[in-house]
Symmetry: C2
Amino acid sequence: MPSEFELIGRYFTRPSRTAALGVGDDCALVRQPDGLALAITTDMLVESVHFFPDVDPESLGHKTLAVNLSDLAAMGAEPRWATLALALPAIDEVWVAAFARGLFALAEREGVELIGGDTTRGPLNLCMTLIGLSPTGLALRRDGACPGDDIWLSGATGEAALAVAHRRGTVLLEEADRVACTRRLEWPQPRTALGKALRGVASSAIDVSDGLVQDLGHICERSGVGAQLVAADLPRAAAVRHQGEAGLTALLAGGDDYELLFTAPPDLRDRVARIGLVCDVPVTRVGVIIPTPLVGEHARVTVLDERGGALALGATGFDHFA
Amino acid sequence: MPSEFELIGRYFTRPSRTAALGVGDDCALVRQPDGLALAITTDMLVESVHFFPDVDPESLGHKTLAVNLSDLAAMGAEPRWATLALALPAIDEVWVAAFARGLFALAEREGVELIGGDTTRGPLNLCMTLIGLSPTGLALRRDGACPGDDIWLSGATGEAALAVAHRRGTVLLEEADRVACTRRLEWPQPRTALGKALRGVASSAIDVSDGLVQDLGHICERSGVGAQLVAADLPRAAAVRHQGEAGLTALLAGGDDYELLFTAPPDLRDRVARIGLVCDVPVTRVGVIIPTPLVGEHARVTVLDERGGALALGATGFDHFA
């Protein structure tokens, strides 16, 4: 069995391209170009919380990086350097090799360099920190939404949550839907190009990872505004349409979507639509930012049904401890 | 019970001092002064691997940051920004409050700002990424040791490992020794000031976290040299002296020491000694760098006994999977 150090050398060490010093010292060393801010994000994935124990390790390697890329995309930042800490119950070289394959395939596509990390024994846990670059003052923050701004969504939400629900037996998906939903759950595609193209256009942005309504609530809270979503305008994948009420719940509150939810002034509608075309990502106008409602925090986001009334929302997002 | 978001807001959110954007968005944003490189390190601490389940949470908060600070110290870098991902089996607010107290007390002392992170349910796991600043070209790397260089050690090694051995029942410490060793295990003091003072003086450096001989081996491997330690010159704490053979093993191979092991040309001996005085850290000359031995990798480091013969070394350091 390889040692901890052989494991790092064999599967997680590639020649440095942009780093002054990569894997193998106490720290990695990198230089940041002038005029750019660093955007930094961290995500931790835990077995049986964020993925099933029998997950394809190649997809898990992809997803570990993808969920962090999604956070950078939501800032409009360009991904650059990553560190990876992983706790493994034991060394399974086939598993580790597949995990590294999935990770590095996406890293190469996105121009990310793995510059350091940590390896230890323990319950399976992947923790990545990703650093990107953002032109000073152009980061897409959560706190810039204004009343009257359109609310936009990339792609569509709900499929990943339906894949989890199917696996847990709480919904039953047809085979074609199951395949589509599982693909969305296991191989999320970060919206890096869209995020960068929205610099100077979007007034605020967030990535949808904890549920559409809850994540929109974060924008509202930070911006001091409210939001109205129009249920009929929300894009629906086939599986979501087929599942009726469960589909709507997944759409609004499922989580694990890794789409971008962003706001922009109405006079930039054409520009946003064109950016979607250029980036080859569907973008849909799904609602409008309104002044802060006065009825308490939980009503910041309203979802209007086809008659213009407010949908009764139950649990609207993911809380790891709920 | 507080939600994930309330937990972050209550215990892990402080006003930003140096960050353009701290906790609460998709990414943190920071600006790096010109002329400095970024030094980046990540460490993951797992329950029952790196700490006992009943560890004082305040000391664990301290240690989570301290072990990362130690990596920056070994590069001579100045600590600046940290992210923290933590997996908790459940929310125990008393535990979390104590953990945060230990973390922020050290963070304030060392000028570190917590700028982001992640919180999730899962087997207890703390993963921190720490970013520091290093004047370009002055980082203390592992690959600069030259034959003839002195080998220096800050403080002394072995006590933390004896605390673990006592707890596991493989050695029996007197009460005064137990207290001293447990303090070293639970409240390691990073050598930040020493590391910074050694810029331009030390030819290589590493922090001793996996055992003295093994970590010296990393310097030798990266520098393409060998090393001779003189057993009689190695500083010994009282508990190490009292434990005879077990003490020597802990000294050479124990791990969890967080001391700096570094090399410097012999003509800088006075300068190194003076730096130790200024920084109020004992520094001891413990050996010499030699040309690469030709007898295979495991003999890169030799420990000489009082007769000048080589000590037979068994396991010489910590491998999380061994």
